[in-house]
Subunit: 354 residues, 2 copies
DNA sequence: CTCGCCGTTGACACCGGTTTCCTAACGCTT
DNA sequence: AAGCGTTAGGAAACCGGTGTCAACGGCGAG
């Protein structure tokens, strides 16, 4: 193969068109199947042939057509992020992490919000995954906890990684966050600060994390000899507005709680708002601890004490797991890293002043 | 066509497999081309035939394979959102809007962050668009202002909609936000409140919106007979951290500004932080006006006075424009809606106390 | 009655890859 | 030197759709 051959060959290509595998085959003087073998790194190609074909590929700037490849493979090169999390901040952080891991892999990310209250949820997700023949799917809570959705993914033979606060699947398909632990740390912190009337605004019942975080809090308080009064427990929906509403009801109680632990940061901001409206100063009159430690936790005033969940890292790890299963690793044999949250102490919770 | 025929035909399908156009054709007793015509709503199909084929499609639950269709059409059914905006909140809002418009259209959204400082930006975007044969692309600022990127999209014949603060293209390909207007409103507001030493933290130079917002502010102040002292102008990068840095330098001046207008909300929060650190109370000691009016603007304390930009709506409108160009409408003939920002007065800016 | 047109439809090639199956060539053994 | 297994590589079918173009039947016109 001389430069001349290539120049000649090049001249034979239509100008405005991308080179195809046929062009590569013709110019390299091999069959398209051999080119295909080179692309897919088949071991049944002589080194000499491989080099020759690779040179032509580089020279032509050939990249295989994803649609054609997908058609033959019966699989696309798209990763889906299917989420129902109501906190935009949570979603965007996770998405960034997934994109971090996907960069350079040749895979692209398709985002797909959904609603678990929708009776057609399963059908909708089936249509999405089946139509796009997704390479894989990443599921953050709470859609990660929907077994009907998982059943469809298994049926469609679509690899997935679930992110949840309890282990629900094979290690290779799970990313577990020990929410029990994180909430316990928050509970101990508040108890150690002297708080006895502690309020809790939980997430929606549909999220396992709600129960986990509630359980962690309760357990830690019990250890410290503090009982969580159920009147001080309100249910939110992981949104700012729901936090506002729950805080209103809790702070209307007499005596009102001296501290409130919220299921996520978004709701903690709701508590901030209500406290201000009522003329309560945080942390002097009310301590607040959030969960997630979103970037905004350290931007509001007072800086929010929160349980740090490395959401972006979690997105990255989940995507990496997916890539690992692409490389033929058995999901059952992969390890299941547990994400351990940790309390970040800032200014919104302080010792109870007698 | 009787139910029996269908039952028989059904039995002939492999159980685990999706029906293909061939199955539909065989069962309906027509050629696959005719089925294709029905799918694509070709007018050259007799009503009777159309009904018959449609019935079989419904019965079988047939949906065309996007990859095969894409291969033949030389176009996928994916819309790309290519962004370089450093504010996650901005991005997530816009993304939601785009998804609002795409819902039900059969199109999916592929998100693709990028970096304009990357020397390979153009090549990277070309590879992304060309490989995925994107149906269309939505470009928020500042990547929307990169003519080299646009040139590639034109060359690849990929429809796009640009979102920017100045008109740079045909009406059908632009969504313009009149940032000049919004900033002018903010400027008038501050001047009317009696402020004379007004600071401005601009966005990065790469964003046209930075100059637009700066110009709007300057113009409005001039009208009111107030000059914008250039020593009170600092450049930020639309990030919280850059806002902190710029605020530090501005508030270190003597005399310090009595009000600061920031190019976006994210940086306004940076000003909040520095003010607190310096013991300045907003709005008593310092008025602050932001831009974008992100949801968080009304969640922080004090509530941030900000120029409202309906980012989510803009995402939706941009996507709708893209869909319109799909329906064969000529981009040059479409109207070019101008998004008019408006000031939302809250608590962070107040009258100057003598 | 025949021609030509129009609205419909189908046969066949094609999009750009992969998979299946087969052959030729090579190196080794006996 | 013949026999045989192994390996590199090719021809053709296939993945599931769309484009091209010719053919078909029914109609009014000549």
């Amino acid at each position: 193969m001389t430069d001349d051959d290539i120049a000649t060959a090049r001249g034979g290509l239509k100008p405005g068109k991308r080179p195809t595998i046929n062009d590569v085959a013709r110019i390299a003087g091999v069959s398209k199947k051999t080119v295909s073998r080179v692309i897919n790194q088949s071991p049944f190609v002589r080194e000499e042939t491989r080099v020759k074909v690779s040179a032509v590929i580089d020279e032509l700037g050939f990249t295989p057509d994803v649609q054609a490849r997908g058609l033959a493979f019966r699989r696309s090169f798209l990763v889906g992020l299917i989420y129902d999390n109501p906190s935009p901040n949570y979603v965007v952080n996770m998405q960034q992490g997934v994109l971090d891991a996907l960069r350079g892999s040749g895979l692209e990310l398709v985002v797909h919000p959904c609603d678990r209250a929708n009776p057609n949820l399963v059908a909708e997700i089936r249509a999405f995954v089946e139509r796009q023949k997704l390479f894989g799917v990443i599921l953050p809570p709470s859609v990660s906890e929907d077994e009907a959705v998982i059943a469809v993914l298994r049926e469609l033979d679509c690899p997935y990684v679930r992110i949840a606060s309890v282990s629900l699947d094979e290690p290779g398909r799970m990313l577990v966050t020990n929410d029990h632990l994180g909430a316990a740390e928050a509970g101990r912190h508040l108890a150690d600060l002297g708080h006895r009337r502690i309020g809790f605004i939980s997430g929606p019942a549909l999220f396992r994390s709600s129960a986990q975080r509630g359980g962690g809090l309760r357990g830690a308080l019990a250890e410290k000899g503090v009982a969580l009064d159920e009147r001080y427990v309100a249910q939110g929906a992981y949104t700012f507005e729901s936090g506002v509403e729950a805080a209103r009801s809790l702070l209307a109680l007499d005596p009102r709680p001296t501290a409130i632990f919220t299921g996520n940061d978004e709701m903690a901001l709701g508590v901030f708002k209500v406290a201000r409206d009522m003329g309560l100063e945080i942390p002097r009159d009310l301590s607040v601890v959030g969960y997630d430690d979103l970037p905004m936790a350290s931007r509001v005033w007072p800086n929010l004490t929160s349980v740090r969940l490395p959401i972006r890292d979690m997105g990255r790890m989940a995507a990496e797991k997916l890539l690992a299963s692409m490389r033929g690793l058995d999901p059952a044999k992969l390890d299941q890293p547990e994400v351990r949250p940790s309390l970040v102490v800032r200014d919104s919770a302080t010792a109870l002043t007698a």
